[in-house]
């Protein structure tokens, strides 16, 4: 039997998730090294229309499973229906995106299928027939390359690592089937919107961003002072700072906060975990200030300043003031 790869596609309110296209890019790379045929798998209540959208631009077949009453993601229903379906399909790979849904599903599916599970994959390669997956570990301080030793592998890809690339191919077949499943132990109560990104932050040309390295709340004043040296500037932060309420959650940059792309991003006492990098990697110019020479943020910076940000910020304010006087 021909080997297959199952791509679990997410959708919401009749639209494909933006990361769906990253999954397609990954699937095309996987196809080159495995020769296996990708099949898009999706679940939902009224699924046909979005299933038809999923096959555009990639030529992959879609298997859409209509589950009455499944308005949005219900972990129990997804896991149960996918298990029975994937046991029939027998794919060599099950691929997802490490979104909140993918992170919820992937480990459970791997247990159900007796598969290896490799999460937050950033690159795929193959050497003499062995397929390997690169991922960050230890907050980005190292990268590890993994391989699976099982017949089935569940892989989730890190959002933002596989750029959308339309292949322009024609559409594949869409097959809609029906399965009934009633979740007994989890009742889905819907989604409440998040705080939304601070307007100042999303429109800023310069973002001075604070991490745990600023150590005390009162040190934030220094960063606001630095930000005031620039026009159209704002102060952003990492998750631990918004968690502790030092800045409001609308100021958080990253995967679970705002995705920003200012002309200048100054990371102050930020380690550079991948969830933070995902929110600022599109910035024009990046400066990082950190006491740790090996902080991962430095790998994503144009200029690196190895020192205590609390000592450095006043010096930088003075230095910038000189330039503003000269010009």
């Amino acid at each position: 039997m021909e080997a297959t790869v199952a791509l679990i596609a997410e959708h919401f309110n009749g639209a494909l998730s933006p990361t769906f296209f990253e999954l397609i890019t990954f699937a095309n790379k996987l196809k080159i090294v495995t020769q296996a045929k990708p099949t898009i798998v999706m679940l939902g209540e009224e699924i046909e229309e979005v299933a038809n959208k999923a096959t555009h631009f990639n030529g992959f077949d879609v298997i859409a499973i209509e589950v009455p009453g499944l308005a949005s993601y219900n972990p129990e229903t997804y896991k149960a229906v996918l298990k029975s379906f994937l046991e029939e399909l027998k794919p060599s790979f099950v691929c997802l995106v490490q979104t909140s849904t993918g992170a919820d599903l992937a480990p459970a599916l791997s247990v159900k299928l007796g598969a290896a599970c490799i999460s937050s994959v950033q690159e795929i390669s193959s050497e003499s027939g062995r397929i390997t997956f690169l991922r960050s570990v230890l907050g980005g301080k190292a990268q590890a390359v993994f391989s699976a030793m099982t017949d089935i592998t569940v892989v989730s890809i890190q959002p933002g690592c596989f750029e959308r690339a339309d292949t322009g191919a024609c559409s594949g077949n869409v097959n809609v089937s029906r399965r009934a499943y009633r979740s007994l132990r989890i009742q889905d109560l819907g989604v409440r919107p998040g705080p939304g990104c601070d307007l100042l932050l999303s429109e800023a040309k310069v973002i001075i961003s604070a991490g745990r390295g600023i150590r005390q709340k009162q040190n934030l004043a220094l960063l606001f002072e630095l930000a005031a040296m620039f026009s159209r500037s704002a102060v952003g932060c990492t998750r631990p700072l918004s968690d502790s309420g030092w800045l409001n959650s609308g100021s958080q940059v990253g995967l679970s906060g705002a995705i920003v792309s200012p002309d200048l991003y100054v990371a102050c006492g930020i380690s550079g975990a991948q969830q933070h990098i995902a929110g600022m990697q599109g910035s024009g110019f990046v400066v990082a200030i950190n006491t740790d020479h090996y902080a991962p943020i430095f790998n994503h910076s144009d200029v690196c300043v190895v020192c205590d940000v609390i000592e450095f910020a006043p010096e930088l304010i003075k230095a910038i003031a000189k330039y503003r006087q000269v010009t």
Binding site: Y73, S119, S136, I186, V191, S242, S244, D292, Y294, E315
Partner: protein, 259 residues
């Protein structure tokens, strides 16, 4: 209510780390400073808060790790957890979350827990797999990345809000027993109390040898570990503080970033 907390020690991320090419993983040595995974601290805190609401609750904590990891069990006891168990594994190198999950599930299988809590992710391996795998192995419903919970014990229900993309919240009601993985921001973990810590130090924490618990084969392995590649030029400024500041200001000015 019986609650199990699963916690893990991780190397301190602020300090330089050493890589070990033989095991293709982070070098396990006592030069690294180890501490409790921050997301697990939130799980411990959440359990202690539940116990404040439901004083009859019994809180158990378990970790899989080397002898050294006893330190984080003491910390959890100091924060208000009742009992600790150490699943001892002197394994060095990469330990698959599936193996850890299998050991913990085996340990928990005969204990009738109403609720199991873990952190959403570990700061070293960063896969977020152990919690959902334990749930699956125990056939329990599971909610990941939980940022709010409320228990109605009479109905045997837990209401949870999962944090999803851009801070939105997915709300669900789950029948107990259940497993939750806890996201940071759900609470502010307390410092261990001195009296509780002193009391904990006198206890003998029961140790279970992981090999005696269950034999599990790993399903994936690292082929290589390396320091990360750079996505930008990473120019390092040299000199005194004020020299660095002046050089940076000059660079920003040249790029017309100062206006």
């Amino acid at each position: 209510m019986r609650i199990l907390l699963c916690i893990k020690e991780v190397p301190e991320t602020d300090a330089p780390i050493m890589l070990d090419q033989a095991s293709r993983w982070i070098r396990d040595n006592n030069l690294h400073c180890y501490r409790m995974n921050r997301f697990d601290e939130c799980a411990v805190e959440e359990a202690v808060l539940i116990k404040e609401k439901f004083p009859d609750s019994i809180l158990d904590v378990v970790t899989v790790g080397p002898k050294r990891a006893e330190k984080i069990l003491l910390r959890a006891l100091g924060m208000g957890v009742d009992n600790a168990t150490h699943i001892l594994s002197e394994h060095t190198g990469y330990l698959s979350p599936f193996i850890t999950a299998s050991w913990i599930a085996k340990f928990a299988s005969d204990k009738d827990y109403d609720l199991i809590l873990t952190g959403v992710i570990s700061e070293d391996n960063m896969q977020g797999q152990t919690g959902p795998m334990i749930a699956e192995l125990l056939s329990m419903p599971c909610a990941t990345s939980v940022i709010f919970e409320r228990i109605s014990y009479e109905e045997r229900l837990i209401y949870v809000e999962r944090e999803i993309e851009s801070g939105a919240r997915h709300c669900m009601k789950i029948l107990l027993p259940a497993l939750l993985t806890v996201q940071s921001g759900i609470n502010k973990p307390r410092y261990p109390s001195l009296s509780k810590t002193l009391r904990a130090k006198k206890l003998r924490i029961p140790v279970i040898c992981s090999d005696a618990l269950l034999k599990v084969e790993t399903r994936e392995r690292p082929e290589l570990i390396r320091h990360p590649s750079k996505s930008r030029q990473s120019l390092i400024l040299e000199g005194t503080l004020s020299e660095k500041a002046l050089e940076l200001a000059a660079i920003l000015d040249k790029k017309s970033l100062i206006k």
